[in-house]
């Protein structure tokens, strides 16, 4: 890694909504990609050519990591695509408020109160029952392109 590429790493949240260019041909299945301004996980890549003696192009099928919608894109494989920075942060769950917001404990001791319970019923139920049973829960929050969502849950044992 050469030095000139290090210039954006000084602030903790600097990369939160950033995208990075990456050559389309190198983006493989299960990687992330921005399609129509949405962060997606690539579930299918196929390559083809523009005519027999043309150049290669990539056909991506991605799934929006927040909404689960399917999106598609075709890009010449030598061109760059935007790759979103997708981060997952673990927080300890402190409280669930009645209006469906959660209160989370950050690493430096502050609380983070701007997230709702997930829309997914299963996860939602697990969080709620787990919390009411007095279990110590750690939730994983996924963020990309400035958007956030609880995406996973881990039980680190009863209190």
């Amino acid at each position: 890694m050469s030095d000139e590429e290090h210039h954006f790493d000084n602030k903790a949240d600097a990369g939160a909504s950033k995208t990075y260019p990456q050559q389309a041909g190198t983006i493989r299945k299960n990687a992330y990609i921005v399609i129509k301004q949405r962060p997606c996980k690539v579930v299918e890549v196929s390559t083809s050519k523009t005519g027999k003696h043309g150049h290669a192009k990539c056909h991506f099928v991605g799934i929006d990591i927040f909404t689960g919608k399917k999106l598609e894109d075709i890009v010449p494989s030598s061109h760059n695509c935007d790759v979103p920075e997708v981060t997952r942060t673990d927080y300890q769950l402190i409280d669930i408020s009645e209006d469906g917001f959660v209160s989370l404990l950050t690493e430096n001791g502050d609380t983070k109160d701007d997230l709702r319970l997930p829309t997914d019923d299963q996860l939602n139920a697990q969080i709620s029952t787990g919390f009411h049973d007095g279990k110590d829960l750690v939730v994983t929050v996924m963020s990309a392109l400035g958007e956030e969502q609880i995406c996973a849950l881990k039980d680190i044992g009863p209190k």
């Binding site: 890694m1 590429e5 954006f8 790493d9 000084n10 903790a12 600097a14 990369g15 950033k18 995208t19 990075y20 990456q22 050559q23 389309a24 041909g25 190198t26 493989r28 299960n30 990687a31 992330y32 996980k41 579930v43 390559t47 083809s48 050519k49 523009t50 005519g51 027999k52 003696h53 043309g54 150049h55 290669a56 990539c58 799934i63 929006d64 990591i65 927040f66 689960g68 919608k69 010449p76 494989s77 030598s78 061109h79 790759v83 920075e85 997708v86 981060t87 997952r88 997930p118 829309t119 997914d120 299963q122 996860l123 697990q126 994983t140 995406c151 996973a152 849950l153 881990k154 039980d155």
Partner: protein, 952 residues
């Protein structure tokens, strides 16, 4: 049987009379059936039948020896089946049908008669008297005389078919030719027709093939048409003639055959050139992707290449001429549609040239085709050399940045494919200079006076040998590889070809590697690679692996192990160092999550994996050191990338491959290092994944997550399996010198078993892999189980119980073997008075675990559904379990007996139990004979009892 055949004939004779007057009627149906019967009879395996026949007759007559009988029988059969009169009768019969014209050709009757005739063409062996094949030849001549009217004159027949006549007759004609060609040598095949015509069979075959090729130009339907089928059959005929299955039977073609072959080749090339020209602008890229893998196309090209090789001078010169012509046209007409047409033609010519010049080297060392080698010419004018240089010229020009824009990725793919194949056969061959009359170097070759004739080998050596033009060509090829990887951005197919065909071909042989390492271009490639230059980082993952592997492999060209190790270290250490640098950064948490960093880390992991995969004894040390140097960074990455499953997977895969490559070589001290590292890695992985529930709004993302987990676990199991193989290599060493493999693997199993959920075990591969490992461990190291932690032990037993309930027979089988191994261990320990599984074997309820399995297994055998194949392994598992706890077994028996009220049933159950233990002597060892006895007892026992118990 003979009556049958005669009877059949008789029926036909009668029926045919009726038939000839009228059209389709009952008689023709009878005829059809009768002829089918004859076809069936001809399809019999005569040798076997006759042997049986002869034997039985001999025993009834009991006078003459069987052999004489059978030869008499043969004569009898010959008279019946292929006597001239009968054959002629059938042929005449068909002749009548033939004359009735098109409407009759596809009637069932006509079809079966033709089938019969084709079948008669392929009759061979002892049915013909041993008179030097004279009878057989006459027989074939007779048939061919009739068949000829189906296919001759080719132009007339083909144009008739094009105009709408049914093609079935012509196709059967082709099939008959194939059948005849299989039985004859090329010259006798040619002679067959000469006996009653001016031209030989080969020229007929040739003009027929040419005609079909031309006709396929006219017809361009999507579906496999009759021209396609006919061409398949005819090309196969050529293959049979030119390359008989038994190579010792290979004889040169007669002169007329050479002409015929060259005509076919020229027509084929002409036709394909036209086709390429017209299809160049097609948008059909599905066809494009399958271009080289398409088996049918491959077969066809191989067949044509075989034809071309019989006339090397003609075919190679034609190809050279066309390649040069196309290429100069491409250079003149820059950027127009004509260029595309020429590119497509050149593309096709390149592929064909590859087939003609060289054989695919899969799994063996290809040699220069004999006929090409037999052409004697000076190095400069040898046709193979000229064609190679024409294509080398194309390759060289492709290096030019301005001209490159004229070429297409597809064209480059063909070039790279061609040289991948060509290199193994022609470039700096190992056997250089070993030929009978070879001159050692090309330079001397140039100076040899005109009077000395070159044979092909010398000419080729002078052009491409180590001391001839070899190094110069190699230089060009390395440059082509480098350019393809860097200048053709995003052309993955091309880059795949470079990394999986051309480069591996270059580093396969040691003498080529020696040359490579001394070349500037190779050094350049290695430097760009080691520097982690952006140009090469943008290659796809499989290309990264293959490239890295090839670079490491070339170390075999270095004179000693030290140099080789140093070379590999120079190649890989910079990358290992950058991983170490990353892992030591203060802002790692944010830095590491940037997509470009993730990309770079993934690339490096792929490269290291590719390098590890190509470990050779000579470079093992370097690869090991590199691996050790990144152990710490890898553990850090495992932690930091816990939410990036793709990186975790690559990391695990690298460790798996690395351990697999290294485990054979390791010293005890190093082994400890590796083992500790693996255990740490497993712990970190487990800590982050245990008890984690991820959900996602999308079902397909959910499935993906599941699949990722599954792949991770497979990699982990693979790692443990690789580790467990260490013991197999170090059998001879003292046990105390080596760290305890079993302990490590059990520890590993302990760590990952909780991660393997029942859901994941639904993946059959994972399930099998897991139980294979478990079985291996329990069979080889049962004593170690006694020492692992109680939780670990109960986990393992839990999975055994799970395994017993699986659907997959193989899994149940393995579970039973594992159980059996455990039982035998315990039983032997009991006999010796040892502790055996000791406290482990008591579960929390105070119950003995093996007793638990005994109950489970008895219940399984008596009351559940399972495949019969499982009874044997179940017996092997059951016996030691019973012996371990005879009291419990007795109790189970009593329970079963008392379930029944009436005395008769009780009697029956206890008799069955009695039969189970019949003949089993109890000793301290369970040997094979006891096992065998018990197996058969169990079968009897289950037969008696299972159905009875389940219905009551």
């Amino acid at each position: 049987m003979s009556c049958f055949f005669g009877g059949g004939l008789f029926t036909i004779m009668v029926a045919s009379k009726a038939l000839e007057g009228q059209g389709e009627n009952q008689e023709s149906a009878i005829c059809t059936v009768a002829i089918r019967l004859m076809t069936q009879i001809l399809n019999w395996e005569f040798r076997g039948k006759l042997a049986v026949l002869g034997k039985s007759r001999a025993s009834t007559l009991s006078s003459s020896p069987a052999s004489r009988k059978s030869s008499e029988q043969l004569q009898l059969w010959h008279d019946l089946l292929v006597s001239p009169a009968k054959v002629t009768w059938i042929l005449n019969f068909y002749e009548h049908i033939h004359q009735k014209g098109n409407a009759w050709l596809d009637l069932p009757l006509s079809v079966v008669v033709r089938q019969l005739i084709v079948l008669m063409c392929s009759l061979n062996g002892s049915i013909f008297p041993t008179d030097g094949a004279g009878t057989q030849e006459q027989h074939l001549q007779r048939l061919l005389n009739c068949i000829i009217s189906w296919i001759d004159p080719p132009e007339y027949v083909i144009s008739a078919v094009l105009a709408g006549t049914s093609e079935s007759e012509m196709l059967d004609g082709c099939r008959a030719l194939l059948a005849i060609a299989t039985l004859c040598s090329p010259s006798s095949f040619d002679q067959l027709l000469l006996s009653f015509r001016q031209t030989g069979t080969l020229s007929l075959l040739s003009s027929l093939t040419c005609g079909i090729i031309k006709a396929s130009c006219v017809r361009e339907s999507e579906e496999p048409s009759w021209t396609y089928e006919a061409l398949e059959v005819l090309l196969e005929t050529w293959t049979v003639i030119l390359q008989p299955a038994d190579l010792s039977q290979k004889v040169p073609l007669p002169p007329s055959g050479i002409e015929a072959a060259s005509a076919v080749f020229q027509t084929f090339v002409e036709f394909e050139m036209k086709l390429s020209e017209s299809s160049a602008l097609d948008e059909d890229d599905a066809d494009d992707m399958a271009a080289f893998s398409d088996e049918a196309r491959e077969d066809r090209l191989s067949a044509v290449a075989l034809i071309a090789r019989t006339v090397p001078s003609v075919s190679l010169s034609l190809l050279t001429m066309l390649v040069s012509k196309c290429f100069s046209e491409i250079r003149q007409s820059l950027g127009s549609e004509t260029t595309t047409r020429c590119l497509e033609q050149l593309h096709w010519l390149t592929i064909l040239s590859g087939h003609v010049l060289a054989d695919p080297g899969e799994g063996e060392t290809p040699t220069v085709p004999e006929s090409i080698l037999a052409v004697s010419a000076e190095p400069a004018t040898h046709p193979a050399v000229s064609l190679s240089f024409a294509l080398i010229d194309v390759a060289q020009q492709s290096l030019d940045a301005t001209f490159r824009t004229t070429l297409s990725p597809r064209m480059m793919e063909a070039i790279v494919w061609f040289f991948g194949r060509w290199v193994e056969t022609y470039l700096m061959p190992d056997h250089a200079g070993r030929g009978p009359s070879s001159t050692p170097s090309g330079h001397e070759g140039q100076e040899v006076s005109v009077g000395v004739l070159f044979d092909g080998r010398n000419a080729l050596n002078a052009a491409f040998g180590k001391d001839g033009g070899g190094p110069a060509v190699l230089e060009i090829l390395v440059r082509v590889a480098l350019t393809s990887l860097t200048a053709w951005r995003g052309e993955q197919v091309l880059q795949e070809y470079v990394s999986s065909r051309l480069l591996p071909a270059l580093v396969r042989r040691r003498n080529v590697c020696v040359q490579l390492l001394s070349m500037g271009s190779w050094q350049e490639l290695a430097t760009v690679f080691a520097r982690q230059d952006q140009m090469l980082l943008s290659l796809s993952d499989s290309v990264q692996r293959a490239l890295s592997g090839c670079l490491c492999r070339s170390a075999q060209g270095l004179a000693n192990a030290d140099a080789a190790n140093q070379y590999v270290k120079d190649l890989l250490m910079p990358m290992a160092a950058s991983l170490a640098e990353f892992s030591g950064r203060k802002d790692l948490a944010t830095f590491s999550q940037q997509p470009n960093v993730i990309h770079q880390v993934s690339c490096v992991l792929e490269r290291l994996r590719g390098a590890a995969r190509e470990t050779i004894p000579r470079t093992q040390k370097a690869i090991f050191e590199v691996g050790v140097s990144i152990m710490k960074p890898l553990l850090v990455f495992m932690e930091i990338y816990k939410n990036q499953p793709s990186v975790v997977y690559l990391l695990l895969k690298y460790v798996v491959v690395w351990v697999d490559a290294e485990v054979v070589f390791l010293e005890p001290k190093d082994t400890t290092t590796v083992f500790n590292f693996c255990v740490q890695l497993l712990s970190v992985y487990s800590a982050h994944n245990i008890g984690k529930v991820s959900v996602s709004t999308s079902r397909s993302l959910q499935n993906e997550a599941q699949t990722e987990k599954y792949k991770d676990l497979r990699a982990l199991l693979q790692l443990l399996t690789n580790l467990s193989s260490k013991d197999l290599f170090d059998f001879a060493l003292h046990a105390d010198e080596n760290p305890d493999v079993a302990q490590v693997v059990y520890l590993g199993l302990n760590i990952i078993t909780p991660l393997i959920s029942a859901d994941l075990l639904k993946y059959p591969k994972l399930c099998r892999q897991y139980f294979t490992l478990l079985m291996h461990m329990l069979e080889v190291y049962p004593e170690k189980v006694a020492k692992i932690s109680p939780e670990g032990f109960s986990q393992i037993l839990g999975t055994l119980e799970f395994g017993l309930r699986q659907q997959d027979v193989e899994v149940v089988n393995m579970t039973l073997s594992a159980l059996g191994a455990l039982g035998v261990f315990q039983y032997q320990a009991l006999c010796k008075g040892d502790d055996g599984l000791g406290t482990q074997s008591r579960t929390s309820g105070g119950d003995d675990v093996l007793s638990h399995f005994l109950k489970l297994l008895m219940h399984f055998l008596l009351f559940e559904d399972y495949s019969n194949d499982l009874v044997e392994p179940a017996a092997d598992a059951l016996l030691p379990l019973i012996l371990c706890n005879t009291a419990l077994f007795e109790k189970l028996k009593q329970e079963l007996v008392q379930r029944h009220q009436d005395v008769v049933s009780q009697e029956r159950v206890s008799t069955a139990f009695h039969s189970l233990s019949k003949g089993i002597e109890i000793t301290s060892t369970i040997d094979r004979s006891i096992r065998r006895k018990f197996r058969s007892n169990l079968f009897v026992f289950l037969n008696d009892l299972r159905g009875f118990l389940r219905t009551r």
